[in-house]
């Protein structure tokens, strides 16, 4: 069974003239990591919200096509049913602080209280989520006293703790320094090893090329490509999508003509290809 199935999704915000999402189709298997890229305003955040039913249940507007997550059609389920299956972490970490809790620990527990889980279950899940995001040592601090990166990780922990089978992250590392983003990606790796399906948007192309199994490229609300990073960035028309390929790919394009037509997209792949090229000349 497909974990995520999006078919001809169209969506227009109320009072907007243009479609924010225009005929998007893609799918994801269990445990896959899907990257969504595109310029500002391409529709990445809107797509994230469509995967969790916030579009169209929270934002009304014109909606067409189907989004099926973990076997459930988003349009015919309530948001509180969908969030059990799909967790979403938003772009701005500060608006995700509930403001109703006095400590980081209680903040992370908020969603679990809402689900009505027994106390013992709540504490073990919160502990695990805090450990995974490496913010256990802040557990007794006030939520608003954390830095941007720590707040981002608290937001992720709050969603992880609810144990959804799919997690959608909208620019999860925008507030993080290189070290912090590395830690977040490591945490996501652990989760995807456990079989979680991950969808994330990201502006750091090198990062997403290395991390994701497949990449969906959005341009003005349309999906212009959906492929593995290697095939996607090797395509001749990738420049026309308004995204630039990873620097490693660009360098190799200048130097190499691989027989497969597929260029390296990560540092280690590029290193290997360049070493082979050096040996052959």
């Amino acid at each position: 069974m497909k974990k995520i199935l999006v078919e001809h999704l169209k969506y227009r915000y109320p009072q907007a003239a243009e479609l924010a999402l225009n005929d998007i189709s893609f799918e994801a298997e269990e445990g896959e990591k899907i990257g969504v890229i595109g310029r500002n305003g391409a529709g990445k955040s809107t797509l994230c919200q469509a995967l969790t039913g916030l579009v169209p249940h929270f934002y009304k507007g014109a909606y067409g096509g189907r989004v099926i997550v973990d076997g459930t059609e988003v349009l015919s389920s309530s948001i509180s049913e969908i969030v059990l299956k799909v967790g979403i972490v938003f772009q701005n970490p500060f608006t995700q602080v509930t403001g109703a809790k006095e400590t980081v620990y209680d903040e992370v527990a908020f969603g679990l209280e809402n689900l009505g889980l027994p106390r013992g279950e709540i504490s073990s899940r919160v502990d695990a989520a805090l450990e995974l995001l490496r913010i256990y040592r802040f557990k007794d601090q006030a939520p608003f006293s954390l830095s941007g990166g720590q707040t981002q990780r608290m937001a992720i922990a709050g969603i992880i703790a609810m144990r959804p089978r799919i997690i959608v992250l909208d620019e999860p590392t925008s507030q993080l320094d290189p070290q912090g983003s590395e830690e977040v990606y490591q945490a996501l790796d652990d989760l995807s090893d456990q079989g979680l399906t991950i969808v994330l948007t990201e502006h750091k192309i090198e990062k997403i090329a290395q991390y994701c199994d497949k990449i969906l490229v959005l341009q003005d609300g349309r999906s212009v490509a959906f492929d593995t990073p290697a095939r996607l960035f090797s395509a001749e028309d990738s420049d026309a999508w308004g995204i630039r390929p990873p620097v490693y790919t660009s360098v190799c394009r200048k130097l190499l003509r691989p027989p497969t037509g597929v260029y390296p997209v990560t540092l280690s792949e590029a290193g290997e290809a360049l070493a082979n090229w050096e040996a052959s000349t």
Binding site: Q49, S80, V83, L112
Partner: protein, 255 residues
């Protein structure tokens, strides 16, 4: 981070009383002082509240409030004493002004009433965390939505103040004058309103979405992670306050 709270973290038997029982006390103190037809009831209630504030070791924190209302009440008494509608009997003269007995008594009654209301509420606010009060109310059946709005306001307003500070700093670093006379400050304040209000308007929508993502509107019964210690005498005290308030009501109706 500044906290928008009057709560004073001390140990006392007043602090130990649960928030809802304190609410019962507030209702009792205010209603009784208004219902009972003799002024003594008001005096007794006010003395009771003031001594509770002392015993809770928070009278110092209460004094600025009393100082402020004292100033307001003083003007009320003067105006009543001079110009009260029922004024007839001269009480005394002060540099040519005639103060009347009736007006002064009315003024005194107003003082008593205000002091009663303010001190009863101060007992609640100075010895109770707002979040504890709201949580207990939610447990007692208040809608979690309303509870959330109340608690988050206490946290988000300081948040807005600090975002105003950040914007103010940014404007200062661009050469805008923000210190000085009232006019200068006013002028510095106006361009702040836009970003701060817009910022909080946008974030309200995001906040609402983030709450949905945390299953805030799930239809099941919520868990309360923190166990709140039950207060031993809650039932007895609440019962006593209700009985006393009813007695005051009967007294009023009989008189």
């Amino acid at each position: 981070m500044k906290q928008l709270t009057l709560y004073v973290d001390k140990q006392s038997f007043v602090h130990a009383v649960d928030p809802i029982t304190k609410l019962f006390y507030v209702a009792f103190a205010i209603l009784t002082s208004m219902l009972v037809p003799t002024a003594y009831a008001g005096v007794i209630c006010a003395l009771l509240s003031l001594s509770l504030l002392c015993l809770a070791k928070v009278i110092k924190n209460a004094s600025p409030v009393f100082l402020f209302i004292g100033f307001v009440l003083f003007t009320v008494v003067v105006i009543q004493g001079l110009f009260g509608v029922n004024n007839q009997t001269e009480a005394f003269r002060l540099s040519g002004l005639i103060f009347y007995r009736e007006g002064l008594i009315t003024g005194a009654k107003i003082i008593l009433r205000v002091v009663n209301i303010v001190s009863a509420f101060l007992i609640l606010t100075l010895t109770t965390k707002a979040s504890d009060l709201v949580e207990d109310l939610v447990r007692a059946g208040l809608s979690p939505r309303i509870g959330y709005v109340i608690t988050s306001v206490f946290q988000i307003i300081p948040q807005m103040i600090s975002s105003a500070d950040i914007i103010m700093d940014a404007q200062r670093s661009r050469g805008m004058e923000t210190e000085g006379g009232l006019m200068v400050r006013m002028k510095a304040f106006i361009p702040l309103i836009g970003p701060v209000v817009l910022d909080s308007f946008m974030s309200t929508k995001e906040r609402a979405m983030a709450l949905e993502a945390r299953a805030f509107s799930a239809p099941n019964k919520k868990t309360f992670l923190r166990e709140r210690p039950a207060y031993t005498y809650a039932a007895k005290l609440r019962g006593a306050f209700v009985v006393l308030t009813l007695a005051a009501l009967i007294w009023r109706l009989a008189a």
